[in-house]
């Protein structure tokens, strides 16, 4: 991206000045280096989002931003509930996609010698890859309950325990979900997919705490050096893909009906208060609940797997975040209204919530430090745990980055080497990887992604989330 098109706010914040039809300015959180490497499409898409009716304060992009569908990946937009719109582009085709981090009572020395054994076991019991089915067949009535109650439904069925729910966004059950607004086709595609990982960049990874940056916060999150954690990255499966596809069409018609000028097809939207807007919102909340339930069931499978290999393992949910979502949240606008909080509709497409200390929506145990922010690297590289900040509440609608972001296209990644060589290279680095898709493996290789450490450092330096710990992988199941 060209620097001269931007107004520098500080070392890690850059403004796209309000111009033409933009209703608010754009703002990109990133270091100078990340900005220079960022594609121009991000500039265009942030500017496009800024033209949408009812957008508040600024259209945002996070340090890992890249070209997306309507919104950039790494895009955040908050809208007034009366005059604003809701857009499929602000959520994407995998509503509720996110990461859960599990904390264990095991350490590197316990797990490293058995890494092959445990990964092979988990590979057998956690279904992954194209078209894979799980073991749970939901009846029509049960599907409704999943879509309405999310992870709470899963716990009620005996998958995991109640304590897990306290450590999931929305306590694993987002309100506003209305299953009748999910199409028959989406429900049909769901069949036996609950409790499955999916494919692409989705993964299950066994990691150890490699470095702690903030001792106090790490203690609050229950982490110490060399402790084993497990991360699960997955979403709402075909049900969520179909909800995206269905409502792209509905909102395309709505944009014409309500005369909303659209700069890019994927940015189609409907007024939040319209019938179409409300239906989409309630359907996407169903996708979020499905994803919460999905990760809850996978957590339970992971516990089963660990119990077969280790003696008395204790596996607790550290936290779970969604990085494709649209939610009603309270934020300060400071638009001459003093310090009054206002309810806004916040879209996060490839961006993570980063609520600061004492926010009412974060677990009691973490109140003093802020919400855990889980940033996944790519297969074979480190991941990070950060915490949300007051600065994020004031400057990014409580949002942060979500991952490394791709640096190389899938085609480029596939051309360069063969998958067996890659598996061996990873093995040499001490990472045992298992997958059903050998071609997909190359697409997800470490070099195909931006340097996650740079993205996280820029996030930290900007103040929207602060580093707590770095974790490194020892075993990975690639979806």
């Amino acid at each position: 991206m060209e620097l001269n098109k931007l107004k520098k706010i500080n070392e890690n914040e850059w403004e796209i000045p309000k111009q033409n039809e933009m209703r608010v300015p754009g703002k990109i959180f990133a270091s100078k280096k990340l900005i220079i490497d960022m594609d121009n499409k991000v500039y265009e898409q942030v500017s496009n989002v800024a033209t949408l009716p009812g957008i508040q304060k600024f259209s945002l992009a996070m340090p890992d931003a890249h070209w997306g569908y309507g919104f950039p990946i790494g895009g955040v937009g908050a809208f007034d509930l009366n005059s604003g719109v809701i857009s499929v582009g602000g959520v994407g085709f995998d509503g509720g996609c996110g990461v859960r981090m599990l904390r264990t009572n095991l350490f590197l020395d316990d797990v490293k010698p058995k890494i092959k054994e445990i990964i092979d076991k988990l590979f057998d019991i956690v279904p992954s890859g194209v078209g894979i089915r799980g073991k749970i067949m939901l009846s029509d009535r049960e599907v409704n309950n999943v879509l309405k109650s999310g992870a709470k439904w899963a716990v009620e069925q005996g998958y995991g325990d109640k304590k897990d729910l306290k450590f999931i966004e929305d306590n694993g059950e987002i309100k506003n979900a209305e299953p009748k607004n999910v199409s028959e086709l989406a429900l049909k595609r769901e069949k036996k997919q609950i409790g499955t990982l999916g494919s692409g960049n989705h993964y299950l990874e066994i990691q150890y705490v490699d470095e702690i940056f903030d001792k106090k916060a790490a203690k609050i999150f229950g982490l110490e050096e060399n402790q084993i954690v497990i991360s699960v990255h997955c979403g709402s499966r075909a049900l969520g893909h179909q909800i995206g596809t269905d409502y792209l069409k509905t909102l395309a018609e709505a944009s014409r009906k309500y005369n909303i000028p659209i700069r890019e097809r994927e940015l189609v939207c409907a007024p939040i208060n319209s019938d179409e807007g409300q239906r989409y919102f309630s359907a996407v909340c169903c996708a979020l609940n499905y994803a919460y339930a999905n990760r809850q069931i996978i957590t339970n499978l992971i516990r089963d797997g660990f119990e077969k290999i280790f003696r008395n393992p204790k596996i607790e949910t550290l936290y779970e975040i969604s990085h494709n979502s649209v939610k009603i949240e309270e934020h300060f606008l400071n638009n001459g209204n003093g310090n009054k909080k206002t309810n806004l509709l916040v879209h996060r497409k490839g961006a993570t919530r980063a609520f600061g200390p004492n926010h009412k929506d974060i677990p009691q145990a973490y109140k003093t430090i802020g919400q855990p922010v889980i940033i996944g690297g790519s297969m074979g590289t480190e991941s990070y745990l950060l915490h949300g900040t007051d600065y994020a509440m004031k400057n990014s609608f409580g949002s942060s980055c979500h991952g490394a972001g791709r640096a190389m296209s899938r085609m480029q990644a596939k051309r360069q080497e063969n998958s067996q060589v890659l598996l061996q290279q990873l093995m040499k680095k001490g990472i045992y990887v298992k997958t059903r898709s050998i071609s997909g493996l190359l697409e997800e290789k470490p070099e195909a992604y931006k340097n996650v450490s740079e993205v996280v450092q820029s996030t930290h330096d900007s103040g929207i989330a602060f580093k707590v710990a770095r974790v490194k992988p020892i075993g990975n199941i690639k979806g």
């Binding site: 594609d39 499409k41 890249h66 070209w67 997306g68 569908y69 990946i73 994407g92 085709f93 995998d94 890859g129 194209v130 078209g131 894979i132 089915r133 086709l185 049909k188 595609r189 069949k191 999916g198 494919s199 692409g200 075909a238 893909h241 179909q242 995206g244 596809t245 792209l248 097809r265 994927e266 972001g405 791709r406 296209s409 899938r410 085609m411 480029q412 059903r436 898709s437 050998i438 071609s439 997909g440 697409e443 979806g479």
Partner: protein, 143 residues
């Protein structure tokens, strides 16, 4: 005639080229399933009928590809051969696509699985004729 893939930063583009619009759609459908499996290994044993309609060729392509994805998911099938017919409805304001898709049950061991496609999107969506009168269509798919 043929299908191709093209670069996109996060996802991937698929492109079909054919003598007619219908043939070009058949090629793009092959590209779609070639991402999920190795279609050379998929026998066109079983036939499924697909329908789609839209106001223009661009939207028709997306409707068609997404209908194929849904059918493939529901029936747990993968497809490797397609026969497409495109016509206008009586009032001539909508395009109707009728297709047969041929394939077999997804077999993880046999089909060399690749990456699951979440959706065909409006990203880089184009349908046009080149100077040799070949039809070309393309879009980005979210994987």
């Amino acid at each position: 005639m043929s299908y191709q893939f093209f670069e996109h930063k996060a996802d991937i583009g698929i492109k079909g080229i054919g003598k007619t619009i219908a043939k070009s759609f058949e090629e793009t459908a092959k590209a779609l399933f070639d991402l999920e499996v190795d279609i050379k290994k998929v026998k066109p044993q079983k036939k499924f009928s697909i329908m789609a309609e839209a106001q223009n060729y661009e939207e028709l392509l997306i409707e068609f590809l997404n209908a194929l994805l849904a059918e493939s998911g529901i029936k747990e099938m993968v497809f490797s051969k397609f026969l497409v017919k495109i016509s206008q409805d009586k009032r001539k304001d909508r395009l109707i696509l009728k297709a047969n898709a041929y394939g077999e049950k997804l077999n993880i061991k046999k089909h060399n699985i690749g990456v699951e496609v979440k959706a065909a999107t409006y990203g880089e969506l184009k349908v046009y004729q080149d100077k040799n009168k070949n039809w070309i269509n393309q879009c980005i798919v979210d994987v």
